[in-house]
């Protein structure tokens, strides 16, 4: 099901296996290349996947910068050291999950770990499976 379709990526990355030369059609044309789809690469469970935008510097060490787009799969069961989205006291936050110490851990020494039991209201919303960053100005978004 839908996330926001990344369909423009198709045209950027698509390539074809047979040439477009004139003449009789190649029998290989029956096997149409599907092309590469970023949706297919990045999204395993479309109806359980949400996109969110990162805001802040607490995950710099993990390579997540402010304004990056995070791909969040709600259907996955979080494992130790997963980067997760959690709702704590009514706010969505992104941290490493340490199951053994029951902590949410930042990837920046500036921020101390958050004990899960301390949070009055805590729930893991999903697992961050990848992140997207634009490296050139003037791109969409």
């Amino acid at each position: 099901m839908k996330l926001i379709p990344l369909s423009y990526s198709d045209s950027v990355l698509r390539f074809f296996s047979s040439s477009v030369a004139a003449g009789f059609p190649s029998p290989a044309d029956d096997y149409v290349e599907k092309g590469l789809s970023l949706d297919e690469l990045l999204i395993q469970h479309p109806s359980a996947t949400y996109l969110v935008r990162a805001e802040g510097d607490s995950m710099l060490g993990s390579g997540i910068f402010s304004n990056d787009i995070l791909i969040v799969d709600r259907s996955l069961t979080p494992k130790n050291r997963d980067i997760v989205i959690a709702a704590i006291d009514g706010e969505l936050t992104c941290k490493y999950l340490n199951l053994y110490l029951r902590q949410l851990v930042s990837a920046n020494p500036k921020y101390p770990p958050i004990a899960i039991s301390d949070a009055a209201d805590f729930i893991i919303e999903g697992v961050v499976t990848s992140s997207i960053r634009f490296h050139r100005s003037g791109l969409p978004l």
Binding site: K2, K34, H45, A48, L92, L141
Partner: protein
């Protein structure tokens, strides 16, 4: 056996998915142009805030109680609805999307522990989509509807109720008023009470053949259904719908775009017939197609299309549906197993809610072209007729939440 999966306070729950701070708090949703309250969270209901009352009348009461008020956000609701329905496809090969927040599953021939299955459905939908649902399971659709109601009202059910041994439920049925039964409207309820039929139990004890003569065939069928005799299969219902969905699994898988467009045109046509029969216009349409869940690489896409002017014109709706297939949903190489069209935001034909900026019916087709161009331009399922109309529309819905799942600029923010 049928299961009815019914989202809890659907619109309010949608507003809470990306706003954990609102969970457990009173939330209400307003209709078009912020006129009336159309949906309330459990907490808002508990405060005694009435349904379908004009907003201006309640404004001070809402403020005093700290109720969070939203304009309706059909892009968000449509998208989350599609996610819930896709998740449900896992649980039965045969489903009927009954409304934006309800879905029947056929459990025929599936041998399993029903309460356990119900809880698994509920847990999975919650985990994957964030949407709380109730599950009613019973031998007929009418009973499944009733079961889902009991599931929500009775705390010990924990949102799952299986009505398989009907006799053991008689005591409960005596306490449920007859107007809570699917298809028993206000007029029939009045007549029934004149005949001393007040509860579900009173109704199910009537002779259905007699009742067919003195009332109508639908009442007779409802009585049979309450007694566990199946009268309504999937896609059959005793009453007009709040939303109109037309969807079908294909006999043969579809692999090319024009065939998929054709099938969706058929569903759109069928939905439009129902729409005109119940004298409504549609404002928001959803179109979807999927490979079904039981394949190696499940694929599923949907689009939500907002029309600038409400319409019941089949040509217009078909055309929008086809554009959605062509530009958003179809993918080369996917073997499509089912598709459908949902008319999710309806309004009565009269009175038409026109405001100073609303375009009139006469320029409808022109706008349609604008809508389609927009679909072409932005590879994005949400479409507004034009920037100008968009502004106007925003003006009427100043309490609208972001379209978290359908607009890049509206993505939920997460603190890192």
């Amino acid at each position: 056996m049928f299961a009815l999966i019914d989202c809890n306070s659907f619109f309010a729950s949608c507003e809470q998915v990306f706003r954990p701070d609102l969970r457990g708090l009173p939330v209400v949703i307003l209709s078009n142009n912020d006129g009336c309250i159309v949906a309330r969270s459990m907490e808002a209901k508990a405060l005694g805030i009435p349904d379908l009352e004009p907003y201006f009348k309640l404004k001070s009461q809402l403020e005093k109680n700290g109720v969070h008020v939203f304009s309706s956000n059909y892009e968000l609701y449509g998208d989350l609805s599609n996610r819930v329905m896709t998740t449900l496809e896992k649980f039965s090969p045969d489903i009927e999307i009954y409304s934006i927040d309800e879905c029947f599953l056929s459990l025929k021939g599936m041998n399993m522990d029903l309460p356990k299955y119900g809880h698994l459905i509920r847990k999975t939908v919650m985990k994957n989509t964030g949407m709380p649902v109730g599950v009613g399971i019973a031998p007929t659709k009418t009973l499944a509807k009733l079961a889902s109601r009991i599931a929500k009202d009775s705390a010990k059910c924990e949102y799952v109720c299986v009505l398989n041994d009907i006799k053991s439920w008689h005591a409960v049925f005596r306490k449920i008023p007859v107007n809570k039964v699917w298809g028993i409207g206000r007029r029939i309820t009045k007549r029934l009470s004149d005949n001393q039929i007040y509860s579900v139990y009173d109704l199910m004890k009537q002779d259905s053949r007699q009742m067919k003569k003195s009332y109508n065939v639908n009442v007779a069928r409802t009585i049979d259904e309450l007694n566990g005799i199946e009268c309504y299969g999937l896609e059959q219902a005793p009453e007009p719908k709040k939303q109109i969905f037309s969807t079908r699994s294909f006999g043969q898988k579809i692999i090319n775009c024009s065939e998929l467009e054709q099938s969706v045109s058929q569903y759109a046509t069928r939905a439009c017939v129902k729409l005109r029969q119940q004298k409504h216009l549609v404002k928001t349409i959803t179109v979807f197609a999927s490979s079904g869940h039981f394949v190696e690489h499940p694929y599923s896409r949907s689009a939500v299309i907002k029309l600038s002017t409400p319409t019941n014109d089949s040509r217009q709706i078909i055309s929008v549906a086809r554009q959605a297939i062509r530009n958003v949903i179809f993918r080369q190489g996917v073997r499509f197993a089912r598709a459908g069209v949902g008319l999710i935001e309806l309004q009565p034909e009269k009175p038409e809610q026109l405001d100073a900026f609303s375009p009139t019916q006469t320029i409808k087709s022109k706008e349609l072209m604008v809508v389609m161009d927009e679909i072409n331009k932005r590879h994005c399922p949400i479409v507004f007729a034009s920037q100008g109309l968009d502004q106007n529309w925003k003006m009427n819905r100043n309490l609208k939440s972001p379209s978290y799942t359908t607009r890049w600029e509206d993505l939920p923010r997460v603190r890192t």
